[in-house]
């Protein structure tokens, strides 16, 4: 059966350039392992921009209650 689903790689070279390993893991996985490091004021210190982006994509939107990554377009009441 033909499929258009693309498999994503989940490996990275294990050398000094790629340490600490935590900087190369997906953002949502980072959030699972290090929930205490997600403070929006400081997260950029230990998370890469890509990880922050990925983490935000998996947050549940308080307005539409889905993982919409801001695409629902809803605004909080009164704004």
């Amino acid at each position: 059966m033909n499929s258009s689903i693309q498999v994503a790689s989940n490996i990275m070279i294990d050398d000094e350039r790629h340490k600490p390993h935590s900087r190369f893991i997906p953002g949502d996985f980072f959030a699972q392992i290090y929930p205490e490091m997600l403070n929006p004021e400081f997260s950029h210190l230990w998370m890469t921009p890509r990880q922050i982006r990925e983490y935000k994509q998996y947050l549940i939107c308080q307005l539409c209650h889905r993982t919409c990554a801001g695409s629902c377009g809803l605004k909080p009441a009164g704004t």
Binding site: S9, N10, I11, I13, H18, K19, H21, S22, I25, P26
Partner: protein
Amino acid sequence: MRGFGIDFGTTNSVVAVCDSSTQRVSPLLDSGGFPHPSVVWLRADGTVIVGRKAKNNLNSYADQAGNAFIPSIKRQLGKGKTYRIFGQPKTATEIAKEIFIHLRKHAKDQHDLSVDAATVTIPVYFDGSSRRELREAADQAGVFIKTFVHEPFAAVVGYCYSGDSGRLEQLEGRNILVFDWGGGTLDITVAAIRSGRMVQLSRGNLNDRAGDYFDHKLHQLTYSRFLDRVNLRPPDVRLGPSAKDRYLAECERAKITLSAVEAERLEVAQAVQCDHRVYDIDQSVTRGDFESLIQLDVKDALGEVDRAVEEARLTGREVDLVLLIGGSSLIPLVQREMAERFGARIVHVPNAATIIAEGAALIDSLGMQPVLARSVGVRLADESFYEVFPAGTMAKPDICQKTINFFCTDNRDGEAKIILLERMEQKELTKPQVLSVPVSSELPKKHADHERVVVDFKLDQDLVLHVTAKAATQAKGGSLAVHDLLFALNTREGWAR
């Protein structure tokens, strides 16, 4: 010192020998001065006959008990095919072995040459399993395959060293089209020489429509004309069993002659039986008759040429050299049509039937090596490409082997995914092949390293890349064999010789 090259063909096979000091090449042809037909005749008493004698008796004995004929065994290599012959299983490898034994014996008996090791040519589409079975067949016959080389590459090398054709280094930066129309198939390859490496850009082919098929067409045409002329009707008419072989051999001869003359007579003595009478076939055929017979096939062949040139992202004008090889490329209609497209850039190779074997013997003698045509590597989690073997790496088992340590960036599904790619000029060219190996699915410890995966990359002598991987915490790993890597030929060893 001598170098040997073997063209193991679908229809015919040839060995060529090259004297390393003079670079003089000679093909070892059969007693009639032709390549050896790749036909194996097995008899119930254990006798094995290969070559011209087997081909000449193919139709006479094929229906008789105690005789088995296997033509075109090359097509079955790599498919794991097993024949049942006289109640015994016989693999395609065992049958192919008989052809190597025949070629080796002929070289020893007729030329006092021991062909113990050789460079063997293969079609570009021959994958790892086919190469492995071909190597096994040669091994069993006592011939060690030093390296495989693609047939069109061997043809180009053979051309460059024949007569005053010019040196190989003069083809640097040029695009070459090899049009190889033999007895069994038409193989078209568009290749280029860049930085001393001959690499395939595209290919096209026609299966089953080549010389042997034209012989059958000519047989049908002349036979029906003969019956009309002598007023015989098919239900009462019988073609004697040995007559069909002689008739087909006569058609092959007439087909070859028609490339040089306008008309030819086909004569087969005592061929047709009808009402207790025996008739001789005596029928003339013109070149025009033959060319109208194969017109559509030639049209399809040219369509394949156009398609291959387009796929190589070239125009006809950008093709610098066209080699016409194989017996069927000598047909005047084919030559005219090709000349219309490529004009003076066409080279008519006089030794068209043996040039591939001759090129292989030269490659063997000069020590040219296959190299990776493209970079081979893996895609990393950040979407970047990690090059394991760069393009141009010599395709040898002791050179193409590496062990690389990776870590798994996301083990939540319990699998590490190793995605293998070939890349050329920053473009990923092949469909990725994925190797998944088990890893622990437990959440990694904070501030600790993630699970390590050790991956081994190793190319074997059949040019198959084996990738094996195992995670540090797991007892079981996984492996993958890549059979269709693209290879180029490093021609620099042949420069300025």
